[in-house]
Symmetry: C2
Subunit: 646 residues, 2 copies
């Protein structure tokens, strides 16, 4: 199964076009200003730790210094370069959707700067160039050099696709050529992988874009060599010490960076969530071309481990701030979790790649859950404030007094010292159409109900129109060579009524039109409120429910309900749900009002007593989870306690 | 209100005498062997951190090196000396209860060693003597020098009381004299307090024991000077730098060590729980003698903040491992908390001192809750294994995979690198009778139902007999000068039936015999199962209940119920409780069996689904909380979920 080139798809969707416009008009210009240190913003560390970089970005300044265009010192993370690459990538997608000469000019200038910073042999990483040139490719346990190279590759492809300008692609291929000189199976070459995965998936994309086999070979190499010798990073550190290049003696956590064994032998999601999922996406992409069964099995096992045991109802992943990592199965705390925006984006990516690899619709359901909830919650509705951490329960007053929650913020900061998430959000939204359609020889897969027009010149056009997720209808039109249409049903939709002159089949997961040449269908459906419960093994959700409608998981917020949201009680039997579309407080919000209860406060000051809980009826107002935190600092919760037994 | 000298009280109580015998026969000899590095034990760090001391105690070796009797280097915490002092203190109490010439000889040798390590001017702290002599009394933000002095004082009093041997008391008074030379209001003296409180309460005890006014004055001084100049520790650090004595630049957290303001101006429990409660105990003790109203108000406010907002149902305190500290009100996570054994001991101490200060029975109720549950859970039934952290929910498999729970152990280690808790447990148990009786001019207060005989020569004898908490009866006998007896009712007892030839009054909290000379009373009562709920503001206990009988909070354990304890569901309406006394698996256990339910596992692998929870009836076996963790590594939980609404 293949993706379509992005320029073959034109979005017409109210919801997603709104987000793409937000990213184009607000996020991309704002992010440039931040990366260029042009505006006064509050750049916060991602968690409370005075040793973390914060206060400014300095990402473009690092390139200027490396290019000899400016005096100064490197500032920020060793992977600060990738912020720039991801910004170029999102700008590329945006230009592909909507031309913008001013933006294109700015990107050209940034690309010139990146090219100027590249060394003659192709090496490119401002942190190592400026702070420790003798340690290039010698501190892979943390260096992120190949990680940055991967993001450079993805940016280069996006910009080449959008503008036909290949300057950055040349820089990227030269950088990759440099890497291929130093890494490989040959004696004397480095037989190890970057601590942070990303180059693997990027190399497959580069292979797909250029057709050059060597990129696929190297993608496979990095997945084979990882964890092959678990002592690799240890030896690297000792060699630097022996050579007098570094006296650092870090403890390398092989689980944190998924190097305890070869990826194809890993069957559980462990360690740093973003690393895990970037690696898994790379594995799925390589497997699409090699059909390596061990790799496919590993991908499927890892995905099952996540989707069936380690994923929040919002599609968030990463249960702990310690190592921003996965923990054991069913351990899903709602108030101390990490649920990094990047991890949700990576789960979308991994699920999509697995769907392309296997055709199985379950991957789309998870992709959609993460996309509409945990990915979108990563940015504010102004497009200029960003969450790193996406909690499911926030009690700002208490959280402030609890040092174990120093990473949980109740409001999106202007920017983050570790700014991986903001440009990642932008590139995901700007390239959203990538996820909507896929195809193989005979079939056209419609993966999401996103109003849009797909045109494969000389072959076919496909169009879907409708107001989903705000209305309950979809019209599809196909015209062209005979194709089977597989229209995937989004999460939580039911009672499909299909009106078409053609025959169709309906399964639990899809509506199928076999080998059609010209078909129109009007599809109507219902989006009932779903009262979800978690698997009983999820201790943190016992006796609680989460409410969902269509793709959106809902939450209660202080802005609508006042303080003390923990007093909310729900009786599924008597819950009367009313939805109303509203655009006064938040844009395009399908609000939900439900009849529930409120637990009564205790009189007196006792902490423990022999008494039953008493509740009084009250209405609770809910909004889609992804819109929370846009109206000042306040409480929020997704899981709502049931009315208990007396 | 005053305490009685310990030797006036003879315990005859099955439960507590059992614990005192355990401490005498097992804990005290074992602890000596550990402190003397005589036996091969697994000394674990109190949480997962490779920089923490672990592997051995070395506490006595440190004294030998300081005394010039051995070559070597100091090992362990800067407060390692206090382990030895607390051991001497518990040995002192034990000798007072039961003579033991062999133990006394060993203690005498240890005291000789301590005396030999003391410098000519009275200074005594092996860490500073051996590692940084120029920094004596100059790093108070961490040094624990006065903390150790306080424990030396308490040990000296205990041993002098028990044996009449005053050698250690001389050492202690000389050490205090040295401190009084360096600290004080006079110009040139240090106007600051130790980062870790303890000397304050110890100085009051020394004042009470010797009658020397200067000790009370200095106790008061340390409480006045603390936080008076919040920049004190900062200045201390800068002065050491200026004098070329240290280049350490620590960030001093004034909340952590309760130095953000003067103690009498503090009205909330903040920061490190043990420090907070040692300070508060010192405040209450000073106030007993000075009647300083600001100090009394502060004590009462701090206690209310704890007992009404920050205490677990087990009497544990300290909701977070970060700084082993209090957090905001009602924030009581059951699986990541700290609940250090020392903090529960300190809460017993503080509550007891507040009761002596105010006569209010509420303090006794909290003292009892902490004593019978979170203090006793600190030690294993073999007297040789100890918890630092006392959780209310343990899921060993999950906890192991969750780095946020590295401090939560499912089994008591042999010993701890930071070994404050084991000897603290021993001294609390060995001196238990201290808590049972208090008196003032006209009244004798019976604070706990602990079978024992109190004799005040030439004045009166009082005796209580009975099998509480294992039986529902108590007989009291008083003979002597006219006294009013105030017999405090333990937690959760009801339906008192009093059989006596004398008149009595009964209040909610006490049974009172006014001005009696000769009285016998048989008291019968009931100890019904209490189904406790937490204040609704405790989010972590929503829709859950805790079960208690008499003083004991109960828990379910894997050893009795198998794995997956989170499947337990309770319906308070249909819960049939059966108690049975048993001594096969654990000593003196009042087991509890209840009829409840078990949630059914989901078929399939889904993580979130629209379905009701289904439960099947089953019986759950419970044991008193303090006995958990004695039968191998397994799950445990105190709060039990209610059967939810369908």
């Amino acid at each position: 199964m293949k993706e379509f080139a992005l320029n073959k798809i034109q979005l017409t969707d109210e919801f997603w076009q709104g987000y793409q416009e937000l990213v184009r008009k607000e996020t991309i210009p704002y992010q440039y200003q931040v990366l260029n240190d042009e505006i006064d913003v509050d750049v916060q560390a991602e968690r409370e730790d005075p040793n973390l970089p914060a206060g400014k970005s300095h990402a473009l300044a690092n390139f200027r210094i490396a290019a000899g265009q400016m005096e100064g010192e490197h500032f920020g993370w060793f992977f600060q370069d990738s912020d720039v690459y991801k910004w170029i990538e999102s700008a590329g997608y945006s230009l592909l959707n909507t031309s913008d000469p001013q933006l294109e000019k700015t990107v050209d200038e940034v690309i010139d700067l990146v090219a100027a910073a590249q060394e003659a042999d192709g090496y490119l990483n401002t942190f190592f160039q400026l702070t420790r040139p003798k340690l290039k490719y010698r501190q892979l346990y943390f260096s992120h050099e190949l990680y940055c190279a991967g993001h450079l590759v993805e940016a280069a492809i996006a910009y080449d696709q959008a503008t036909g300008k290949d300057k950055l692609l040349t820089v990227a291929e030269k950088n990759i050529a440099n890497i291929c000189t130093y890494f490989g199976r040959e004696s004397g070459k480095i037989q190890g992988a970057d601590g942070h995965q990303e180059i693997e998936l990027a190399l497959v994309r580069l292979y797909e874009y250029t057709g050059k086999q060597t990129y696929l070979t190297f993608a496979d190499f990095f997945l084979e060599v990882r964890g092959e010798d678990p002592a690799f990073y240890e030896k690297e550190i000792l060699k630097n010490q022996a050579d007098g290049l570094s006296d650092e003696t870090p403890r390398v956590d092989l689980t944190y960076l998924q190097a305890y064994d070869q990826p194809k032998k890993q069957h559980e999601a462990k360690g740093h969530a973003v690393r895990m999922l970037y690696m898994a996406s790379g594995m799925a992409k390589v497997a699409q071309h090699t059909q390596d069964q061990a790799l496919i099995d590993a991908c499927e096992a890892i995905w099952e481990d996540i989707a069936c045991k380690k994923m929040y109802v919002t599609g968030g992943v990463g249960s702990t701030v310690h190592g921003e990592a996965f923990v054991g199965p069913y351990d899903l705390p709602n108030d101390t979790m990490y649920c990094e925006t990047c991890a949700a984006i990576a789960l979308v990516q991994f699920s999509f790649e697995l769907f392309k690899l296997t055709n199985e619709p379950k991957y789309l359901a998870t992709m959609e859950r993460a996309l509409y909830n945990s990915v979108l919650s990563g940015a504010a509705i102004d497009g200029k404030h960003f969450f790193y951490v996406n909690p499911l329960e926030v009690n700002p007053q208490r959280d402030q007094e609890n040092p174990g929650k120093g990473h949980v913020k109740a409001q999106r900061p202007d920017w983050l010292g570790c700014a991986c998430c903001p440009p990642n959000f932008a590139r995901m939204v700007a390239s959203l159409q990538r996820l909507v359609y896929t195809c193989d020889q005979e079939k056209l897969y419609v993966n999401l109900f996103v109003a849009s027009r797909l045109e494969e010149p000389d072959q076919f056009t496909f169009e879907q129109t409708g107001g989903f997720p705000f209305t309950e209808d979809l019209t599809i039109r196909y015209q062209g060579i005979p194709k089977t249409l597989i229209i995937h049903k989004p999460n939580g939709l039911s009672k499909f009524q299909i009106d078409s002159e053609h025959e169709w089949q309906e399964t639990n997961e899809a509506i199928i039109f076999e080998a059609v040449e010209n078909v129109t269908a009007n599809i109507r459906f219902e989006q009932p409120l779903q009262i979800l419960r978690a698997n009983p093994q999820v201790i943190q959700a016992i006796n609680q429910v989460a409410l969902q409608r269509g793709p959106f998981v809902y939450c209660i917020e202080e802005a609508d309900n006042g303080q003390a949201l923990w007093r909310c009680r729900i009786d599924p039997q008597s819950l009367e749900a009313t939805f109303s579309k509203e655009d006064t407080l938040l844009p395009i919000t399908l609000r939900l009002a439900i009849k529930g209860y409120q637990s009564e406060e205790w009189s007196g000051t006792t902490l423990y007593e022999e008494r039953a809980e008493t509740v009084i009826p009250r209405t609770w107002q809910l909004i889609p989870y992804h819109l929370w935190g846009n109206r000042g600092i306040g409480e929020m919760r997704v899981w709502l306690p049931l009315v208990g037994k007396k």
